[in-house]
């Protein structure tokens, strides 16, 4: 839908609303992160720091091992993204391309995974990870996150694979590729936008997860960022400025990822990715 007759003013108005809605909370936390304790508790509040200070950022790095948390989050998110993509690509290819008797049933089963709330699986998962001696390791999070992302990744990839003409694949196989070779050399590259969409969704979901991470990896060395952020709270205190600074630092990777892949994600969605 285009609206050619909509006036310039209306467009500015629309843009202002969308931009304010999207950016305001992040900008507000950015402003808070530069305020000192006195300005923070000033009434009426100041909308932009009058005496910007960097002490909160110094404290954010000093009070908690922020780089460790960032690194852990990145490792867990990247590993589980790679694993989700691998597993989902194979499954999606089988569903989209191979002659399967219960195609619909298999797809439904995979999608049904998202019906199981993570919190309900948490305790048994904890016992299983304990049994496998995987508590306090990256795998304790990577495997569950992979499964968590399986439905959405499979859905996206199935719909992309279905759009790729079979002839291209067959041509590759005639040229001597095996079926799997054709999958990696022809189908996946052609479905690249779908792979990017699925990958970004998987990355962001894994990056965001809090509850399981809180329960599985209690050791500092494996603590992820969303849990680490909560650690700034002391026995008695809730240091808002320091937490704001840590939040800002925690948002940087998220912003980078969406800056890099925004077009892919949006075009992936446009191509009908999520319509199943």
């Amino acid at each position: 839908m285009t609206a050619p007759q909509s006036s310039q003013a209306l467009r500015w108005f629309a843009a202002a609303i969308v931009l304010a809605n999207g950016f305001f909370p992040a900008l507000w936390i950015l402003a808070t992160s530069f305020k000192n304790e006195v300005e923070l508790t000033a009434k009426p509040i100041t909308w932009w720091p009058e005496n910007p200070v960097l002490t909160n950022y110094i404290a954010a790095f000093k009070d908690q091992p922020l780089p460790v948390y960032l690194m852990n989050s990145a490792i867990v998110a990247l590993l589980s993204m790679a694993l989700s993509l691998f597993v989902a690509t194979l499954a999606a290819y089988a569903i989209a391309r191979l002659r399967l008797k219960h195609r619909q049933l298999i797809l439904t089963t995979i999608i049904a995974v998202s019906m199981f709330p993570l919190v309900t699986l948490m305790v048994p998962l904890f016992e299983i990870m304990r049994g496998l001696d995987l508590l306090n390791s990256y795998w304790a999070l990577v495997f569950p996150y992979t499964v968590l992302n399986l439905p959405v990744c499979t859905l996206v990839l199935v719909s992309f694979f279905q759009e790729i003409p079979r002839d291209l694949e067959n041509a590759a196989m005639i040229d001597g590729c095996t079926r799997l070779g054709a999958l990696w050399r022809v189908v996946v590259p052609l479905a690249a936008p779908g792979v990017f969409t699925a990958g970004t969704l998987a990355f962001v979901n894994a990056w965001d997860e809090f509850l399981l991470s809180l329960s599985m990896n209690s050791a500092v060395a494996y603590r992820t960022l969303p849990v680490g952020i909560q650690m700034y709270q002391g026995e008695y205190a809730f240091p808002w400025p320091t937490i704001s600074a840590a939040l800002v630092i925690g948002l940087v990777p998220v912003v980078i990822v969406i800056l890099l892949f925004q077009e892919r994600v949006v075009s992936g969605l446009t191509a009908g990715g999520l319509k199943g």
């Binding site: 809180l214 209690s218 709270q233 026995e235 008695y236």
Partner: protein
């Protein structure tokens, strides 16, 4: 010739690590609030005195709840990597029931009296569950009533002995100062662990108990009188309207900013009030025992941390040795001087060096001596939640004291079911 030399070198290289083989590699867990820097210094000292023993420090969250979430997970998983840890004074019963802490009796020998005689009796009692010594006291603490010496003097008042007296003095000063921002009393109404003590202070003062001889023993009338006392403080304007939002550090900050006449806070407040960067009350702070309910006893809420050895440790002997050293008057004195931590030994309070570093410990000892342990039960977390949450909803005006007491009774009854 040459090859022989190489072989000899290789042999030496191979032997070298085993020559330096450590007798024990201990991993110790403390929370972020227990000054890991000082702990590390003490560990270095221990290592120097015990060649072959290495002590590694692992630092957890900075609140007791986060600290415990970590230990819940690690110990449920029977993790062997942690040998010793600090536990909050409210936890020994849970650790005993769950079998998470190695009972220390066998290591301490038959003469427990000699081994434990030096500790303040309440600390010794809180760490002994059904005759088993679960942990050794490390740090003591208690709630104090801090007051503005200057203001009390100005209006010719003595520190109050009862809560109604406190309210009367506070109202007199508030009226005289004509400062609408001056609070008479600040206490914890938020659903934090501090609110458990808020509930217990007036309840205990009237002789109430939560658990007696292992049985749930709740006295509704006393509990209701206690909650009514706090509500009255808010109603009369002695405490501020959003008392339900006040957490421990809010009381500390506002007292420090000169906005509070009487503040109920743990021992850590003192240093902030006297030496804090932006303190407005330095030199004008007094500290005394918490007031009593009319006709009741003055009583305080006991805090503190204790060293325990993990039941899953593979180096229990060495771990016990370490914590026995950590729980000596010597270490206690170091912690008092370097970190202003309260000792669990009566003798250390009287040590001249300690009193030189922290003179106010002289006033602190009588308060710490009146401190009582919160209910000793394996389901302490459930009891704590029931008390703190219901104190909070009463202060927020969401529930009446009667409704809150119903919920406390139900929740505790469910938690202690057989």
């Amino acid at each position: 010739m040459r090859s022989r030399l190489v072989a000899a070198l290789l042999a030496l290289l191979c032997a070298w690590p085993s020559l330096a083989q450590d007798r024990a590699n201990l991993r110790v867990f403390v929370g972020g609030q227990q000054r890991p820097d000082i702990m590390r210094e003490l560990f270095r000292e221990y290592e120097a005195a015990n060649p072959g023993v290495k002590v590694k420090l692992e630092v957890g969250g900075a609140s007791s709840d986060l600290h415990q979430k970590y230990l819940n997970m690690v110990l449920t998983a029977r993790d062997t990597s942690i040998d010793a840890f600090l536990i909050d004074i409210i936890r020994p019963a849970q650790f005993a029931a769950a079998g998470w802490a190695e009972p220390l009796n066998a290591y301490l020998g038959n003469d427990l009296e000699t081994a434990l005689g030096g500790y303040l009796p309440a600390y010794r009692a809180a760490n002994t569950i059904n005759g088993k010594v679960i942990a050794l006291p490390a740090l003591a603490d208690s709630l104090f009533l801090y007051y503005r010496k200057d203001l009390l003097e100005k209006y010719g008042e003595e520190p109050p002995k009862t809560w109604p007296e406190l309210a009367r003095i506070a109202k007199k000063i508030q009226a005289g100062e004509r400062n609408p921002d001056l609070q008479g009393l600040s206490f914890q109404g938020k659903a934090v662990e501090g609110a458990v003590c808020t509930f217990l202070l007036p309840y205990w003062s009237q002789g109430g108990e939560i658990i007696r001889d292992g049985r749930f023993a709740f006295d509704r009338a006393k509990a209701e009188a206690g909650l009514d006392m706090w509500l009255g403080m808010v109603r009369d304007g002695v405490a501020k309207r959003n008392a339900a939002e006040v957490s421990t550090d809010d009381t500390r900050k506002e007292f420090q900013a000169g906005k509070v006449i009487f503040g109920v806070v743990w021992g850590y407040g003192w240093n902030h009030f006297q030496k804090g960067a932006d303190t407005k009350v330095s030199g004008n702070v007094g500290v005394t025992t918490l007031p009593a309910m009319p006709g009741g006893e003055p009583v305080s809420c006991m805090g503190g941390w204790n060293w325990a050895v993990s039941a899953f440790s593979k180096q229990k002997e060495e771990a016990v040795k370490l914590i026995r050293w950590l729980s000596t008057p010597y270490v206690s004195k170091q912690l008092a001087i370097r970190g202003s931590f309260h000792p669990a030994f009566t003798s250390v309070y009287e040590d001249p060096e300690v009193l030189k570093a922290v003179p106010w410990f002289q006033d602190a000892l009588p308060v710490v001596a009146t401190a009582r342990a919160r209910p000793i039960t394996p389901v302490y977390k459930q009891v704590s939640d029931a008390l703190r949450i219901n104190t909070n909803v009463v202060m927020a005006g969401v529930k009446t004291p009667a409704q809150a007491l119903d919920e406390i009774e139900q929740r505790i009854a469910r938690a202690v079911r057989r």
